[in-house]
């Protein structure tokens, strides 16, 4: 189930955990910088969709035990996982979604 849509003006921010940057380094080492750049370009395109608050349940599915954790199937051979943190105003209404990238995983 997608996170709550922030009211009025949807805002989505993208972040990443140190573990995700480590996985990017691993990807560079495993397949080379050039091939890795192609995959990461696909990944940024997926992030662009998230930024536009496009939540495609065909490619975004729950991941793991945490209800706020999801898996994005962005490439034939790779997925990334991310957590959703919601900023709320004083009335507890969502005002901003923060999508924090966690890991890059092989299928």
């Amino acid at each position: 189930m997608p996170p709550e849509s922030p009211t009025n003006t949807p805002r989505v921010s993208i972040g990443w955990a140190p573990s995700f940057a480590v996985d990017v380094s691993k990807l560079d080492e495993e397949i080379g910088h050039s091939a890795s750049t192609g995959i990461l370009t696909d990944l940024t395109a997926a992030l662009g969709a998230l930024r536009r608050f496009e939540w495609d349940e065909m490619v975004i599915t729950p991941f793991g035990h945490l209800g706020s954790s999801f898996q994005y199937d962005f490439h034939p051979h790779y997925v990334f996982t991310f957590s959703v943190l919601t900023d709320r105003d004083e009335q507890k209404k969502p005002i901003k979604e923060n999508y924090i990238l966690k890991r890059l995983l092989k299928k």
Partner: protein, 196 residues
Amino acid sequence: MQQSELSSAPKIPIEQPRAGSSTDPAAIGRSLVIKGEVTGSESLFIDGKVEGAINLPGNRVTIGRNGIVCANIFAREILVLGNVQGNCQATELIDIRSEGSLTGDAITARISIEDGAIFRGGIDIRKLGESLVPSNLKAPGIAKVGSPLADAYDAQAETEIAEGQYEMLDDEADLHDLLPRWRSGTPALAHSRSAR
């Protein structure tokens, strides 16, 4: 000596939940049974029964004297006065008191097992702040979805996020700016969002 301990790790003070105070831990009462996954960002006192998984990175989980937990627990501190069956991972301390029982493996920076406590399982002591990814699961490559390594890596990333160790891209920035930043290897600074 009244009691002996496996280590000199400090004890975790027992925080009994009291009604009406926002600073006390959330509580699962004696008559409550929860089957599923417990997640969140606050400490928890369990005096009932929980089956499933407990993921409270950065917080304390206390299993009270009446508590029965059949679940893997991931938290900052785990205090066991009741009965736990499952693997426990704590970034700081696992404290098993004399009336407590833990059946499962313990991965933690520090552990205290009081005289009379029951413990059946393995202990993996890590340095404070060290990754909780089991050493036998470490691999140089990217983990595969569904593998134990992927689950352990994910828990590691969750801990980083819970501790505020993440970076945010400026809302107006081009997404293509991300690639050089990911590759720069600049360590993330503790981050706090403006509102929650």
